[in-house]
């Protein structure tokens, strides 16, 4: 059986499982929409400026995808490793890369769904202006830019037991969100923070999507960084997957 067909099989049944309990994805759909409503919409200086509003919505979208990726991948995998179905799946002839890609497709699709309320709120309640085709390009860019977060979530999920994973994910997403300029725009950062920020995948994802939607210059560090994070984290996930033997007790 080819990697592609096994990837699709695992993604399909993962989506079926999710669709049977649809309320489970409410967190990743509602949380970023609420953040946009509370933090961006009331600040009229941002919301009434088309350029700032668009960037704020993009930041929130990257935030939504990042939170969704870290939590659903990290917690989902850590939880599954503590259940006996995952060890059984490992006895089937499916390579690690098929399992990893299936996770990315199925859970990644859910993160894209969580962007719809953000785009809707942004279009209705702020003065953000983007051509529809640019929105589609932006969604494509977000899908690409979210790869490091999905892989980071998976690495945490395979490396840690569930309770430890929750704590690590909370710290990680907060640091990445602030450090990457997703809450406060990087224009307000002091120089030293801005310098560090440019190496974070969250900042790179934000700048990459802004470039895709609004045009302008793309710093080499931005796309090189995204490619680099993706390669390093993919290698780490595959290593951790191979090494994993389920939950270990001492």
């Amino acid at each position: 059986m080819s990697v592609v067909s096994l990837t699709l099989v695992h993604a399909k049944y993962s989506l079926i499982e999710t669709s049977r309990i649809p309320i489970a994805i409410i967190g990743s759909v509602v949380f970023p929409a609420l953040a946009l409503l509370f933090f961006v919409v009331p600040q009229r200086s941002v919301a009434d400026n088309p350029q700032f509003a668009t960037q704020a919505i993009i930041s929130m979208s990257v935030f939504a995808v990042m939170v969704g990726s870290l939590f659903s991948f990290g917690l989902g995998i850590a939880e599954n490793r503590e259940k006996p179905w995952e060890p059984y799946l490992r006895t089937l002839p499916a390579p690690g890369i098929a399992r990893v890609l299936a996770h990315i497709f199925s859970t990644g699709l859910m993160s894209i769904v969580s962007l719809l309320p953000i785009i809707l709120i942004g279009a209705l309640l702020t003065s953000a202006e983007v051509a529809p085709v640019r929105v589609l390009i932006g969604l494509g860019a977000i899908a690409v830019a979210s790869l490091p977060f999905m892989l980071l979530g998976m690495a945490i999920g395979y490396a840690l037991p569930m309770k430890a994973a929750i704590a690590v994910i909370q710290v990680t997403f907060f640091a990445l969100a602030f450090g990457g300029g997703l809450f406060l725009p990087p224009q307000l950062f002091p120089d030293w923070l801005n310098a560090i920020s440019q190496f974070l995948p969250s900042r790179q994802a934000r700048d990459f999507v802004i470039w895709a939607v609004q045009g302008g210059d793309l710093q080499p560090l931005t796309w090189l960084g995204l490619v680099g994070w993706t390669i390093v984290l993919l290698a780490l996930v595959l290593l951790l997957f191979r090494r994993d033997e389920g939950r270990r007790y001492r």
Binding site: M1, S5, Y13, W85, L92, P93, R248
Partner: protein, 294 residues
């Protein structure tokens, strides 16, 4: 005879616990091998090593000529999840199709479900099945890929007598059709019903590896319990392999009683019973230790 899988001087430790201790074992094509032992003997660890789920601490595990950790080695391997492992929200038919999608020559869902007695539940979500129904589905999953080697870890746990006998019949039929089967159990009865060759494990070691008749002969001991003023003389009688307080382990209780009466040793409160599997294991372990010391 082709060797499908083997363990070569395999040891696996978990922290300070040695679950499998220097085990060597060959699984030959066409056999029905029973892996018998009490809880904690290392049976499940042996299975998980063969499945590639765990790696040996030392030694080599081979599956179809390769490492079980490689995907290609597992193409002709069938295994069973614990019945609590099945994903509750998927339907029975979906679980069979999901697992079947991993194999090149998979069996049709309907025929497999019919054979293992889950045909009427195909449209139901797994979470709505009873424990016994889940168990049958779990065992069916091991056969969906037309495997050459099937590893069954305590396949009939939680089944009532009828369901257990029905499942044994299915397993024997699959074996007659050419599938090599390894089945673990802590029930001697189950191993008797299924296995031709029996490997007994205790404390992580293989303490016996023999045909079913050979094992039954060695395990078929009697416990004679009696009170006597001269217990040391009783223990010294021919045929006594072990003594524990007022209990004497013997192979042939009839011959022992004749010797006891002939010896003229006074005794009272006599009872004779068959050795439990635990006691049989214990004597096998002790004789293994004795042979090791020689």
């Amino acid at each position: 005879m082709t060797t499908l899988a083997s363990l070569d001087r395999v040891t696996r430790t978990f922290g300070s616990v040695t679950a499998v201790d220097d085990v060597s074992l060959d699984i030959t094509e066409g056999e029905m091998l029973g892996l018998l032992g009490p809880n904690g003997a290392g049976k499940t660890t042996v299975i998980s090593l063969l499945q590639g789920r765990r790696r040996p601490t030392t030694g080599t595990v081979t599956l179809f000529g390769g490492s079980p950790a490689d995907v290609a080695s597992r193409r002709y391997l069938g295994s069973t999840p614990q019945e609590t492992a099945l994903p509750d929200t998927l339907r029975v038919g979906e679980v069979i199709d999901f697992v079947g999608a991993h194999f090149a020559e998979r069996r049709a869902t309907a025929g497999l479900a019919e054979e293992f007695g889950v045909a009427e539940f195909l449209k139901r979500q797994v979470g709505s099945l009873s424990g016994g129904q889940k168990r049958r589905l779990s065992v069916a999953l091991a056969f969906v890929g037309n495997p050459r080697l099937v590893l069954l870890d305590e396949p009939t746990t939680g089944l009532d007598v009828d369901a257990r006998h029905a499942l044994w019949a299915v397993l024997r039929r699959q074996h007659e059709l050419g599938t090599t089967v390894v089945v673990t159990s802590h029930y001697l009865e189950e191993i008797e019903a299924l296995a031709q060759r029996v490997v007994v494990m205790a404390g992580g070691r293989v303490v016996a590896d023999d045909s079913l008749t050979g094992i039954l002969g060695r395990a078929g001991q009697r416990i004679v319990r009696l009170r006597s003023d001269e217990p040391d003389r009783v223990a010294a009688l021919p045929g006594v392999t072990r003594r524990e307080a007022d209990s004497y382990v013997v192979h042939d209780s009839d011959a022992f009683l004749i010797e006891l009466v002939r010896s003229g040793i006074g005794f009272h409160d006599l009872t004779v019973r068959g050795a439990s599997l635990e006691e049989a294991f214990l004597s096998l372990t002790e004789s293994a230790a004795l042979e090791g010391a020689r």
